[in-house]
């Protein structure tokens, strides 16, 4: 009896989390004009509509571009700052480390507004470039935290060994530190991709004519619900899932030492 109750409870819990997504995906295959019961599919007509919509496809391309470039940059900067904090004695190191991870706790809205005001002030127009900078700002602390956690004393000794054998600082970084930390680097990169991919607020505030997919979807939603929004939502969800799976595989794969 207790067991049946706990199974029922678990089913409710997972239903609560996944039912909205399941409904969204289901009605993306709707055959008629409205994403409401009864379901009369499956049909791929709305996916066709999405892929032939120039605004959505360019939004898709923009999102992928911004995610790739901003994540690469955030990972690189996160790696360098982690290396700096882990390997050198810096004044007020703990305070500076705290400051670098602080954006994790600040809402995206505040960060977006701050950047908007700042970019306005320095005369940088709203653009994908500006949104990309925003994504670096929100993902850098995360990349820093992931990579910093993997830089222990053992790694420091391995770098010391490389230096002892004649490696310059640049070669130590390229041939030893970075390859040794690649799981952390990949994890940081893919997690950044995931966050950048479905980030809305900052992109909304910092882009104008060319924009990312979440902002295009929002534009579409203002005209009302139709199965096309479901189809594009399902696509976004699918990509997020793939990124999350890659992240899990890289991070939690059993690896030697």
């Amino acid at each position: 009896m207790a067991r049946a109750l706990s199974i029922f409870y678990a089913a409710l819990l997972y239903g609560f989390i996944f039912l909205p997504v399941a409904v969204l995906v289901l009605f993306s295959f709707q055959g008629t004009l409205f994403p409401i019961p009864p379901f009369n599919g499956p049909s791929l007509r709305w996916y066709e509509a999405v892929l032939s919509d120039a605004r959505l496809t360019s939004g898709l391309a923009n999102s992928i571009g911004v995610a790739l470039v901003s994540s690469a940059l955030a990972t690189l900067l996160g790696f360098l700052s982690a290396w700096g904090f882990a390997r050198f004695h810096l004044p007020a190191s703990a305070l500076l480390r705290g400051l670098i991870t602080l954006p994790l706790t600040v809402s995206y809205l505040i960060i977006g507004m701050g950047l908007l005001i700042f970019f306005n002030w320095i005369g940088l127009p709203k653009s994908l470039f500006a949104a990309g900078i925003g994504h670096v700002v929100i993902n850098l602390p995360l990349c820093f935290a992931i990579i910093y956690s993997q830089m222990g004393a053992h790694q420091a000794n391995i770098e010391r060994a490389a230096r002892d054998l004649g490696a310059s600082e640049m070669k130590v970084l390229l041939l030893v530190t970075a390859p040794m930390l690649w799981p952390a680097l990949f994890a940081a990169f893919f997690l950044s991709m995931t966050f950048s991919w479905d980030e809305f607020v900052i992109s909304f505030l910092l882009t104008r004519f060319e924009t990312t997919l979440p902002v295009e979807i929002w534009n579409m939603l203002r005209a009302g619900l139709n199965p096309k929004t479901n189809a594009v939502g399902a696509l976004v969800f699918g990509v997020s899932i793939v990124l999350a799976i890659i992240f899990e595989l890289v991070t939690f794969r059993k690896r030697p030492q």
Binding site: A161, D164, G166, Q257
Partner: protein
């Protein structure tokens, strides 16, 4: 004889703590030197200074007559074998061993050939294509040794190289280290807190305590005639007895022995105590150790340590007569 490495008046502090206090030392070429001391004695700091990982607060390091005090590790003719081996986990064993030559711009075919040859020297010729995690602790140790030797350093520095191995493997690697050192002829400087390891390996043993050198010399001399009380207790076991000198003899609770005027203590090695015509003592403890019995016996309030033949039957509470060989009594001054 000119020294290969000269350490001149080195002092070093970490913050307010002085870890090395005016240390001077000359290391002869082709020798196996062991820096021996308890933790906190400054031996590892001294090794780090030799390797270039630390710049001393004061003093100089000369290697082959050249001042290397402030030279970066990459630039000086030393190579270090780290306690945790510090192998590159993402590289094959061959690439690990060849890394130093790669940094010198040696072409791949040549460095692979030389790495293979060096792996043969340490008995791991077949491991060339493996990764570090596929090897055991002792094998990794050998890879670290081969990697450091391949850059042909003037001095090889070993930081507690056997510390992570179990006892049996440690004794075996110890013999191999000595054999390899004799074969390649490079000077080895080895840091350890294990006095048995030091005695087995060293041509020159340097006993350190609290940032100073207490004693240095061949292990036989340091063991038989330790210069200080600390050395006598750290290099092997002994019974230390205070006494005062009067007309060429030191008078102690367990008898009088010839001594110089400034002696304050006696040290007696347990193997120089036998049953026989001597001082009456009561056995306090007997520990059977296989090849001998380790016996503690009280005489006039002094616990005398003896290493007795395992065939002798003694038990706690027995009254025995202990003979101390006066020829081997060590006199110490403070």
């Amino acid at each position: 004889m000119t020294a290969l490495v000269s350490i001149e008046n080195i002092s070093h502090s970490f913050g307010a703590t002085r870890v090395l206090n005016d240390v001077s030392l000359a290391i002869p070429p082709d020798s196996y030197t062991v820096l021996l001391g308890p933790s906190g004695s400054g031996k590892t700091t001294l090794l780090s200074i030799l390797g270039g990982f630390l710049t001393p607060s004061r003093g100089r390091v000369l290697i082959r007559g050249k001042d290397c005090t402030a030279l970066a590790p990459a630039k000086r003719p030393t190579a270090t074998v780290f306690q945790d081996y510090a192998l590159f986990p993402h590289m094959s064993i061959g690439a690990n061993v060849g890394f130093g030559l790669r940094m010198k711009g040696v072409a791949r075919t040549e460095r692979d050939a030389r790495a293979r040859a060096m792996l043969d020297v340490v008995g791991l010729g077949s491991a060339f294509d493996k990764k570090p995690h596929q090897l055991s602790g002792g094998q990794r140790q050998r890879v670290a040794l081969a990697r450091a030797l391949l850059v042909e350093p003037a001095v090889l520095l070993l930081d507690e190289p056997l510390g992570a191995l179990d006892l049996k493997l440690r004794r075996q690697m110890q013999d191999e280290l000595k054999a390899i050192q004799k074969r390649v002829g490079t000077a080895f400087i080895h840091v350890t807190h294990d006095q048995e390891e030091a005695m087995a390996l060293a041509d020159l043993v340097v006993v350190m305590n609290q940032g100073r050198i207490e004693d240095q010399g061949p292990p036989e001399r340091v063991y038989a005639r330790p210069a200080t009380r600390f050395t006598a207790t750290f290099m092997g076991e002994s019974t230390i007895v205070p006494g005062s000198v009067r007309s060429g003899m030191i008078e102690t609770a367990i008898g009088s022995f010839p001594a110089p005027a400034d002696a304050t203590h006696l040290a007696i090695r347990p193997e120089h105590v036998t049953l026989g015509n001597g001082i009456l003592a009561e056995v306090a403890e007997v520990v059977y150790q296989g090849s001998f019995k380790r016996v503690t016996a009280k005489a006039n309030g002094i616990g005398i340590l003896a290493r007795l033949n395992p065939g002798i039957s003694v038990a706690a509470g027995d009254k025995v007569h202990l003979a101390i060989d006066p020829a081997h009594v060590i006199t110490l001054k403070d």
